[in-house]
């Protein structure tokens, strides 16, 4: 490649990268500007102010929503890893009647679009009396078919001799799974953990259906309701509330981008 074309390529890449990064920089800058400066193109505010953050923090329970989001996403991720591993282990390594059926149903369920089951699931939550509870946000996500299939695929590759020798030593299946297989499965577990956590952290349609009480709302829901209900009042305040959701994600992404990309691209392709 000639030097000229090489330079042109880097210019194109830089413009493209800027297209994806600049809106977020503009977002950060807008949240730090006083209202009269919002319309300016400059990224650096002339008067840096934290007023937007103070306003949004006092007008709606964002601290509480942050904790709710963390609680819901952590519980779901832990369950998907632990319960999902137990299920996947049984489906990969144990022989029992009903296993083929479980495999087939898992695959079939993945083919059904979520929009089909949305309303029946919602009516189920209503009849269980779970509206406005954490159970409504957590229980329907305790298992994840994509995660189970990914874990199962990995567990299938573990040599039978390893499992057999552990059984000879008198280990139970649970101990084999969590002390022998889990350490080997770290990369898959990380992949599953990231896409499960991110899926839960960013989910907004389901909470919008089953939660109306601000105290139980997760962050994406609260900031949607806040922005729509006019509670924000201004662009700066509305974007400041969005920062609470984005900041932890961007920090984690900065450190673990390779794993994020592998996990989130991989799950989409397989799922």
């Amino acid at each position: 490649m000639t030097a000229l074309r090489r330079t042109a390529l880097y210019v194109v890449l830089a413009v493209a990268a800027l297209t994806f990064i600049y809106p977020f920089l503009w977002m950060v800058s807008t949240t730090l500007k006083p209202p009269f400066e919002v319309g300016t193109l400059s990224l650096i505010p002339r008067d840096v102010t934290l007023d937007n953050y103070r306003t949004m923090w006092t007008r709606a329970p964002f601290g509480r929503a942050l904790l709710n989001s963390a609680l819901v996403a952590t519980t779901i991720t832990t369950a998907v890893l632990v319960l999902g591993s137990m299920t996947a282990y049984a489906m990969a390594r144990l022989h029992f009647r009903g296993r083929p059926l479980l495999n087939v149903v898992t695959l079939a369920v993945l083919l059904v679009p979520g929009q089909l089951t949305l309303i029946p699931l919602y009516t189920l939550i209503v009849r269980l009396g779970w509206v406005d509870t954490y159970a409504a946000l957590i229980v329907p996500y305790l298992f994840n078919a994509t995660a189970i299939l990914m874990l199962r695929q990995f567990f299938l590759q573990i040599p039978q001799s390893l499992v057999d020798s552990a059984r000879m030593d008198g280990m139970g299946e649970m101990r084999i799974l969590f002390t022998i297989i889990w350490p080997l499965a770290r990369p898959v577990l990380a992949t599953v953990a990231i896409f499960t956590f991110m899926g839960s952290w960013n989910e907004v349609l389901w909470p919008l259906l089953v939660v109306r009480d601000q105290q139980v709302m997760t962050l994406p829901q609260l900031l949607t309701v806040f922005a729509l209900g006019g509670g924000a009042g201004s662009m700066g305040v509305s974007l400041a509330s969005a920062m609470v959701l984005v900041l932890p994600v961007v920090i984690a992404y900065g450190f673990l981008q390779r794993y994020f990309i592998e996990s989130m691209a991989g799950s989409g392709i397989k799922g």
């Binding site: 990268a17 029992f96 479980l102 089909l116 029946p120 699931l121 509305s238 994020f260």
Partner: protein
């Protein structure tokens, strides 16, 4: 497989049942039952307060005559017609640019992928500000360059295209990764052979790269279609379905019927219709593209 010839021990049978029982219960309750109940709801009238009643084919008849539903279906057609080609072009271009030895390659890739990890709700709120008619970044730039500001989200002609561009921007990093994976399998020797034949860069792309990437393109079309039909939070936050109902998505209409009108039977009917629609559209796309692949 070696495991199949072993005799199944009783303890293994018991462990298998114990370990998979919670999942079996979950699957029955939160996956299989809702699918069956979705079909049942099509024939029901239910506001969640009073007892459900049998509605026969009322919901289906209503759906077939419901102008707002068909408006939403048409909107999805407009959305996908803009979104899918744009998504393919953008993802392919960025993947081709990335597919070589580059300084800061990891950084370029990570920056393209950044919006993928951000919640759709945040992206919608952010772009609501970017598209704002008077103080939005995009119109500020246009005015600076000497153009008239465009009321992106309030003009019926531009609202859905504006949303389609935003969704493309949010997801393109994901599809770049798919194309990059495909590009790795194009052998260097093929590239060199066709270069020796004196093919131009455009000919190389048109007759070598593009055909060899067809499996990835099929995947991109399928996934962006399935994903696109889920359009909800963007119109919910940015336009509320307006102007003139031009950005009303099918999922938004389903949500409105369930949440605002408490019509569970009708909302479920929309859900079933949407699932069928997705299945048909994806099947047709695969059939058409599969024939291209066979040639």
């Amino acid at each position: 497989m070696h495991a199949d010839v072993r005799t199944v021990t009783r303890s293994e049978e018991r462990s298998g049942w114990l370990l998979s029982a919670p999942y079996a219960v979950f699957l029955a309750t939160f996956a299989v039952y809702p699918i069956v109940f979705a079909i049942a709801l099509v024939f029901m009238r239910w506001d969640l307060v009073t007892a459900p009643s049998f509605a026969g084919l009322d919901n289906v008849e209503l759906l077939l005559q419901d102008a707002r539903f068909w408006r939403a279906v048409l909107n999805m057609g407009v959305f996908l017609a803009i979104h899918i080609p744009l998504q393919i072009a953008a993802a392919l271009a960025l993947a081709l640019a990335l597919n070589r030895k580059l300084a800061f390659r990891a950084f370029w890739r990570a920056s393209f992928f950044l919006p993928v990890v951000i919640s759709g709700a945040v992206v919608a709120i952010l772009w609501n500000s970017l598209y704002a008619t008077d103080v939005g970044l995009i119109n500020r730039l246009l005015v600076r360059l000497g153009f008239a500001p465009v009321p992106w989200l309030t003009d019926p002609l531009t609202a859905m295209p504006a949303i389609a561009v935003m969704v493309t921007w949010k997801n393109v990093g994901f599809y770049v990764i798919i194309y990059l994976a495909g590009l790795q399998y194009i052998p260097r020797s093929c590239q060199e052979a066709i270069e020796l034949e004196g093919a131009s860069a455009w000919q190389r792309f048109r007759f070598l790269t593009l055909p060899l990437l067809l499996p990835q393109t099929i995947l991109v079309v399928t996934l962006s279609t399935i994903n696109g039909f889920q359009l909800f939070i963007e119109p919910y936050v940015m336009t509320g379905g307006g102007p003139l109902g031009r950005t009303y998505s099918v999922v938004l209409y389903l949500y409105t019927n369930a949440f605002s009108y408490q019509k569970m039977g009708y909302a479920a009917t929309i859900g079933v219709a949407l699932a069928v629609m997705i299945g048909v559209v994806v099947a047709v796309q695969r059939w058409v593209l599969g024939r291209a692949e066979a040639q």
